[in-house]
């Protein structure tokens, strides 16, 4: 034991806003934890509840929808 739990988080980012802001964070060299795995969507509204459930059941510890 003693290993700190690091959640792996599935992130849905909208191409027009939050994905762009994640790019901007990179261009600005903002440093943040490496836990998220980004899926681009054309709109955060594309995120079907099924995607959230499938994410959790396939190994992700959390799902982040940002748009």
């Amino acid at each position: 034991m003693g290993v700190k739990f690091e959640p792996k988080i599935l992130a849905f980012l909208c191409k027009w806003c939050s994905y762009a802001s994640a790019d901007l964070a990179g261009v600005s060299r903002f440093q943040y934890p490496s836990n998220i795995r980004v899926m681009l969507t054309m709109c955060s509204g594309r995120v079907d509840p099924v995607f959230v459930m499938e994410g959790l059941s396939s190994g992700f510890d959390g799902v982040f929808v940002f748009g």
Binding site: K8, L10, K15, Y19, A20, A22, D23, A25, G26, V27, S28, R29, F30, Q31, Y32, S34, R37, V38, M39, L40, T41, M42, C43, G45, R46, V47, D48, P49, V50, F51, E54, G55, S57, S58, G59, F60
Partner: protein, 1358 residues
Amino acid sequence: MMSDEFNSGLADGRAVYRLYPQAVPTAFAVKKLDRAPCLRACPANVNAQGFVQLIKAGKFTESLALIMERLALPGTIGRICPHPCETDCRRQEMDESLAICALKRFAADQADWEALPLPQVERREEMVAIVGAGPAGLSCAYHLALRGFRPVIFEAAPEPGGWLRYGIPAYRLPLEVLNREIDYIQKLGVKIHCSTTLGQGRTINDLLTREGFQAVFLGVGCQESLRVPVPGTEAEGVLWGGDYLKGVAAGQGPDLKDQRVIVIGGGNVALDVARTARRRGAPRVTIICLENAFEMPALPWEVEEAGREGIEIMYRWGVKQLLAPAGKVTGIELMEVARVFDEQGRFAPAYLEDQRATRDGDVVIMAIGQKANLKFLTPEDGVALTPKGLIQVDPDTQATSRSGIFAGGDVVSGPFIAVAALEAGRQGAISIERYLQGMDLKEGRELPLNPLTEGNWNPLPKGQSRQLRVTPDILPAEEWAKGFSEIHLGFTQEQAMSEAARCLSCGICSECLQCVATCQAQAIDHGQIPEIVDLKVGAIILAPGFKSFDPSQYEAYSYASHPNVVTSLAFERILSASGPYLGHLVRPSDHKEPQKIAWLQCVGSRDAQHNSYCSSVCCMYAIKQAVIAQEHSKAPLEATIFFMDLRTHGKDFEKYYQRAAEQGVRFIRSRLHSLEPVPGTEDLALRYVKEDGAVLNETFDLVVLSVGLEVAPEASALGRTLGVELTPHRFARTSPFAPVATNKPGIFVCGAFQGPKDIPQSVMEASAAAAAAGELLASARYSCSRRKPAPAEQDVAGKEPRIGVFLCHCGTNIAGVIDVAALRDYAGTLPQVEHAENFLFACSQDSQKTIRERIEECGLNRVVVASCSPRTHEPVFQEAIKEAGLNPYLLEMANIRDQDAWVHMAKPEEALEKAKDLVRMAVARSANLEPLYKQKFPVTRAALIIGGGVAGMEAARSLGNMGFQTHLVEKSQRLGGNAWNLVVSPRGYDYRGYLENLIQTVEHHEHINVLMNSSVKATGGFIGNFHTVIATPGGDLELGHGVTILATGGTPLLPQEYLYGQHPKVLLSFELDQAIAARDTRVAAARQAVFIQCVGSREPERPYCSRVCCTHSVESALLLKELNPHMDVFILYRDLRTYGEKELLYQEAREKGVVFIRYDLESKPGVAGTPEGGLEVAVRDPILERTLVLQPDLLVLASAILPNPMAEVADLFKVPRNNEGFFNEAHAKLRPVDCVTEGIYLAGLAHYPKPIDESIAQAKAAAARAATVLALEEVAAEPLVSIVNQDLCQGCGLCELTCSFGAVHLTTVPGRGFRAEHLPAYCKGCGLCAAGCPARAIDMLHFRDRQILAAIHAGGRG
């Protein structure tokens, strides 16, 4: 280091910087001003700024390499050079010049010369001879060796070095320094034959004709002492300076122990001789010098040091004779100098023969000059000499009169400084290479840079404290004369680096060229020079923009001196997340979070001393900044705007102003008295005068100057070059009827160069200028464009995915954090991946070529690129795979740069883990991708314009002129609309003439179909393919059109107040115009006229400014004054909004006696009729603080402008309107004439109240936007749309409710009831319908459930 322009000087920048950090953050630029004055002062143009900067950075080896690009003998020159570079150093303007020479020496002394690398160059076989191993000869040999030659030097003396060895004493230049540098030159392949004399028997001509040499460089210097006919010089004990030094250097020379020595001469040689004599034991050394201490040619520090060695100098004495009674010198007889130079400044000494003196001495050394010894030249050499006995050369090429023979150094120039001889040698080497290659010696040759008196250099830093130069250690003075040890000991590393840090980086980029070596993409080319390109064009559009007013010229605002007084542009950067403080709202001086900020309006605007016009945009941006500052501030922030008139005349601006006031932004109508720093704090005290005359003081943490807009001098110069007429304020002059046309046909203008304006107006004008150019160039449309051929596409249907993964290092951007090779190996193990490969830059041309080749070689049918963001680079790679025959939608990207390497820079392992997951997800998704095709629809090349006012007609005329069929629908029986009300011609502009002409043109235009008394009945379709039914007097007409322009106009409010309609002397603005035009007796008889502004505007039920009324009333007031100068004219206003150059009319009106009285909404003027049939207007004057009663004969109401009631049209075309009924544009700033629905555009009063010039500009803009569609053969719709499976659909209609774009609706399918139907042309691809469909009957192409789920499953696994 330089000031960061983008951050308004709030941060330090570097010479390599992001040019557009927000717009194009990944593109860099190098900023270069004029080359630094040190470089320009140096005869060899040594890049002093460059090597100094490298020393500052601790890059000593690189520094020496940069010096040695030019200079063969860096340690030598770093000791003996009189350093003209330091004389021109701009640091002197602050304190002391930089110790450039000592830094150069430091760079050379740091190096291990034994280990210095030998450049690998291609060997060249041509043989070159060099005569003389002095500075010129050695330099020539060095530069030839760097070019691959193996030159041979012939030197008469036993050892190489020339004057450096035999003329410069070792306490200035230790022999080991010279030796190590000459040794290095020999290691480069230079052969030196010493003790080899040329001349009779082996001539220069022999070298060329018999010995196989193909070129010769002569660098023999000035070795011989100048002799003067002074009696007694033949006596024993008389020596010659050059010979004496040479003897000492060769270990010979007389012992001067106990000898009294007299040295004749005032130059550096005399000083070297005297100081050498001291070291050789002479107890007393006297220098006899013609000149006084200031005229003396010797360097002042040499003179000073000689004094410290006990050497006496007798100034202004000449030699009469040497006294040698017994053939051995015993002394010298001197005569006083009357003058040294004549009136022309030429050396012509004259003496006072009767003023004599004698001086005893045992040895006299004559050091009065050196000359060339050219006895080795023979007539057959063919080398011409100058009258002064020097070799004659072409100053640009060092070429002598004989082809193939070059010369340089003192033998050409006469005795001069060594660095110049080195440069002559370098130029000789360049010429010899050109000569041997058969090139022209001059063509394209790099020209030497000479000093500039007025250069464009990095400004001196403000507020930096004095910092004197660092002085290197020095041998104790008492040791100096004891031997030949070097006196100056050179810098330590720390000293050198701290001295180098004093450099001001005058040229910004120093051209140290480190970036060239570092850039893996080899993207930096310092050799770029401005090019002149000839372009053939049919029209020119001028859009040079504005510069913001520089307030440092106002002392009153403390701007230049106080860090907490910033310009609005600087404040914009302070607020920005990418700004100097990363978006934290702090003030510059101490980074404290401000609690009180003041904005001062009209800085550099509405000011007779600077720019008398109004800059139009500052009020609005100040309010915006105040609101955003309040939002950014953690603690409550008090934001106060000090203004004269608040001008929020733009669309929806007034509402913003009201909201800001409600949110607590303070607005204080005032005039600034003074702005002073508060002693002992970083705060600022503002003293201001309120409207009622009260003087108040208030302290602020930060003061923002709302600086105005002005035309940059470069822009007005451009205008003048093109012959464009400018206004007195240097804006391009235009007419209200042609707002984007200059006086020169074919030259158009837009943006702030036409007049100060905000973004929406600039964008409109930009499109309008494009329309104007498009009209002119209609016949040439597509004549210069080319179409790219489409490659045949591979059919991937039913084929097993074969995926190629291409990974990008992005230089070090990705590879510096993520182990890309490991990632590639990992990618290769993933299912269905056939090939994985990494590239330094995946987006480079050659990488893309490789990707295309791999698609073919490996039979790839899906491609994953792991690099940067698809937002920027997806089109690039889509194009690449398309050219290789793959459908572009078979590409998937993994963003391992922007969203991985760049944000986890300190955690390479975590970044690699994340990259593996992202690549795995991308691979899984790509396996599920399918080809998609853009849907194409032919465009109906016709326009429908609704509204026959000026806006509609101008749009129709513009489109018609571009050759597009245009239907213009007007509901009434005549064209012209509101423009018929413009019956007077203020400022000489004939509105009526313009209107009649426009109607004529439109009615008779071959491409315009005018439909009078007509209206829209029904419409449908989409961009490029609209169908509209028009009800006309002749029945319904169905029209097909590709675009629609709504120009439905506006109408004046008919007020219910101020006795309008009840009293004959109360008129609306346009009614006054009509009365003036009709010479109405009410006008002619009037002794007093009163205007009331904002009648119905800026009221709670109509919270907008009608924009045109202030200017209209001021113009009318001026007209009345013109008709009857004795008429009293009053304008009662709330804020006077004569924006832009209209402000000048306001000024003129005040000068002509029009009285402006302000009122507030709470105390509106009272209007009452008198029993005599007159009027009484009561208004409270806020300055006098009392109520005035006026008795006008005319009361003019500036009533609001309303949009025409258009609910029906808006509903038909699905165009949203704001609360006041004006049509909404798609984006208030960037798409000011587009409607949200594609293919529909707006213009004129239907959008917002505006004067006729702005309506025309907007109409032309709408035409330009429409033309972008009409010029296409077909419109392509993105294939990223949803699809409906009607077999699964249950007809619930949730999708129709969800869709904001009307792209899915229910339809009746016979036998099945309601089913969803999808209209792809309207679909934006958001996928809401797919996510919401309970029956899972809708899927989103390219974002299908299975595609997304594959990625999710893959991502969760790892």
